[in-house]
Amino acid sequence: MARSALTGTRIRERRMALKLRQADLARAVGISAAYLNLIEHNRRRVNDALLEAFAQALGVEPVSLSEGAESALFESLREAAAGAVGPGRAEEATTAPLDLAEFERIEEFVGRFPAWARVLAARQARVAALERVVETYSERMAQDPFLLDGLHEVLSAVTSLRSSAAILVETPDIEPEWRARFLTTITQESLRLSGAAEGLVEYLDEMEAEEAGPASPQEQLEAWLETHAWHIAEFERPDPPAPEDLIAQAPELAASAARELARGYLARALADTRALPLKPFLAALAETGPAPGPLAERFGVPMACVFRRLATLPEGCAGVPPMGLVVCDGSGALTLRRPLPGFGLPRATAACALWPLYEALSRPMQPLRVAVEMAGRLPQRFLTYAFAAPRGTPRFDGPVLMEAMMLVIPSPLAASAPARPVGTSCRVCPRADCDGRREPSLVAPR
């Protein structure tokens, strides 16, 4: 049934589908068979009253005969009903045309709820467009927690919309209370989908802009460290190479600013390695567990040194969990981010104000040990150690620059133990009632 078919053609198709003779239909609507023939071949226009009569005689909504302008609407609704989504999901698409009985129900839906039908069709078009965008970013989405949450929102809203709309379409005898209920759902979920879609598009736009430029020097350094699993094995040798030699072999450190950062980082890492040689440090660690306090005391080194060493141990040491590390300066800007799975670190924006990292910044020299629960689809618990101290040796004639650090360890605590709720960053945090919130979230509260 071509969507471009004219009214007469549609009347003819419907009549033939019902196996009615021209004469019978003509009599039913009160015109002559010859006139009907002209109409059926689109040689006479059909006025509203006659259209109504045809619709009644053929058992359809008038809108389905006069269609024309509505064809895009029908197409969208069919897509919604069939779940015929964009490219790449062909295995789920229902490509076969809808059967007549189902088609009638869509017409009924459009006839009885024209405004809702348009809302649903508009949403369907939006979903299709978003799904194409989503498709192109699928690789990234497998890793990016911001995108994963946004996509989950979209898919959940679409699932609700599709199920609710299908129920309205496919349940002609639906009770009024249920009908009202599902219409409310469609309203709610449409709004939710709009919000999630806007957030997703905004984020993708920003990401595109971000990725157009080169990665920041800090990102280049972190990417290079990632290729070494954050452990500079060469420094553990009795004759460690100079930091400059390592940097010379690192094409990842493209920008001169990145190489400058790497110089500072590696010089400190080398000093840490000398202060805390691997073998005795691992032996002590086996005794005390990954607790920075006792280790700093035993080796007589600054807390920061132990934090950094703990977070950059070689992979696979027995009894040593993987650890994350974030370091910030007095402005709160993150100057180093060693990620840990499940503990989301913001890419460019400021982090969650509830992180013990920032509490440490406001309470210099006081060690903090805080269990936290990271918000997310599946909240995870971590044990954090945070400590802030002046960077370098404080001088009498200059400002004291503070540096705070937070070591993040997968929580060994029982699930019932109290944990401070934290997030990654407000924009992607689902926590609804949070005193620390500074901007609205892109993800729905739950």
Partner: protein, 132 residues
């Protein structure tokens, strides 16, 4: 009692309500549980004929729940229809590996949920042969 009972573990209230509506009209007795943390206790309580389990639940992953279910001799045989809003590849593999009887990706067609449920659940016991 000839009515078959299904537990729907789904945190999205609107999705859960739509599933409840569809399955109830198809003759199922439907119980909805929104919390992943309470799901296991609920399954142990009601011994449903089938479970529809969302993969991403706040509090507890559907995969965890499924693993615990399969490890419990009294409940291990319960057919489980796993739902996920995260595409086909990895989630389907993870769900199958954890012991899901069948997997359905969101968004789904209502008829598919019913068909999948009917396919995995045991047929309605005939009158008079009520199970103990």
């Amino acid at each position: 009692m000839n009515e078959r009972r299904v537990l729907v573990v789904e945190d999205e209230p609107n999705i859960a309500e739509a599933i409840r509506f569809i399955l109830t009209r198809a003759g199922w007795a439907v119980t909805v549980e929104h919390s992943g943390a309470r799901a296991m206790a609920c399954i142990a309580d009601m011994h449903p004929d089938a479970v529809i389990l969302d993969l991403m639940l706040p509090g507890r992953s559907g995969l965890d729940i499924l693993a615990e279910l399969r490890a419990d001799p009294a409940l291990a045989a319960t057919p489980v229809l796993m739902l996920s809003a995260r595409g086909q590849g990895r989630d389907r593999e993870a769900a199958t590996a954890a012991g899901a009887t069948v997997f359905l990706a969101k968004p789904f067609a209502n008829a598919d949920v019913l068909a999948a449920l009917e396919a995995i659940a045991a047929p309605v016991p005939a009158k008079g042969t009520e199970q103990a």
